[in-house]
Assembly symmetry: C2
Homo-oligomer: 188 residues x 2
């Protein structure tokens, strides 16, 4: 396939993902009809579903983009920094609500849950790698297993997603994240 | 009003709330149509909406029941115990997903958000009261303001709701809650 065509496909894919993200953010998962996705992306349903199998595929591709971006930060600066970044970029909040809407399906739709877990595995791996390096460097508390620290940080991240999605961020979440970070750090 | 009639009304209200809780758990907020609510409660729409203004009213009454029950535990044993109770009563999990589905509305529907916040205020008050008594008794760490501890516990609770609703509880959440409890305790 000639280079120009690959570029074109990538740009098209980008156009669809950006439009879909806005559309999900505005109308929610169920509310984002194919018609609204067409409007938001500026493309026909034929073009959209040439690139993505269906609405689930589009949604999971967006979730994977998030997971990749978060994994990059988590690998180098840790999961708490991922949360700090979320707090400081409110333009991402709208989309987070859509992630909550699909929570039910994680429990009721095994195939969807499997696809979702595959996409979030990258973030988990990045976080575990960072935690292990921190532990080796003596910066992580050594009285709690790594998997418990991971479970703890994951739980706080889930809480932050819910909080940001609800728009109730008036509490001092920066200080809360300081507490979270300190609670897994080694004490001298 | 004679006593028997009051009892009857209370029983009817109970019947509606129990049925609606099951119905929301099974079909989600949007999926729980008036027809399905009739089936689940065994009552007509006339009877249901004699007791509750509309579906929102029904939903908020259920959320208030949760908040009251949690506030009782939070006042006496703290918010971490509320979370431990949630972990040990999986029959409540289905309903929790519905709470996530309405997150979007907390951001986009000010009237609904106001009603929701009123109902959760009881839990916040109970938690703050308990934290202040713990602080006076020297059991709470004294280097972090009470509101930050509250914000921290709230965030973890939100995370737990999301986790339970998604059914992904395979991580050792009991040990995670131990870490949470220990991180707000005074260190000697």
């Amino acid at each position: 396939m000639p280079k120009v065509s690959e570029d074109h496909l990538a740009a098209r894919r980008r156009q669809i993902l950006d439009g879909a993200r806005r559309c999900f953010a505005e109308y929610g998962y169920d509310g984002a009809t194919v018609r609204l996705l067409e409007d938001a992306t500026g493309l026909s349903r034929g073009a959209i579903f040439h690139h993505f199998k269906d609405k689930d595929g589009l949604f999971l591709a967006l979730a994977q983009e998030d997971a990749r971006r978060m994994a990059d930060v988590a690998a180098n600066e840790g999961l708490v920094q991922v949360m700090r970044d979320m707090l400081s970029s409110p333009d991402q909040f709208d989309w987070l609500g859509t992630r909550l809407e699909i929570t039910r399906r994680l429990r009721t739709d095994p195939e969807f849950a499997k696809a979702w877990m595959q996409h979030s595995a990258e973030l988990t791996e990045a976080t575990v790698g960072r935690l292990e390096r921190q532990r080796e460097a003596g910066r992580l508390r050594d009285d709690v297993p790594t998997e418990v620290v991971l479970g703890y940080l994951d739980l706080v991240l889930d809480g932050l997603v819910a909080r940001l999605a609800s728009g109730h961020t008036e509490q001092d979440l920066v200080a809360v994240l300081d507490l979270v970070e300190e609670s897994v750090r080694r004490r001298d």
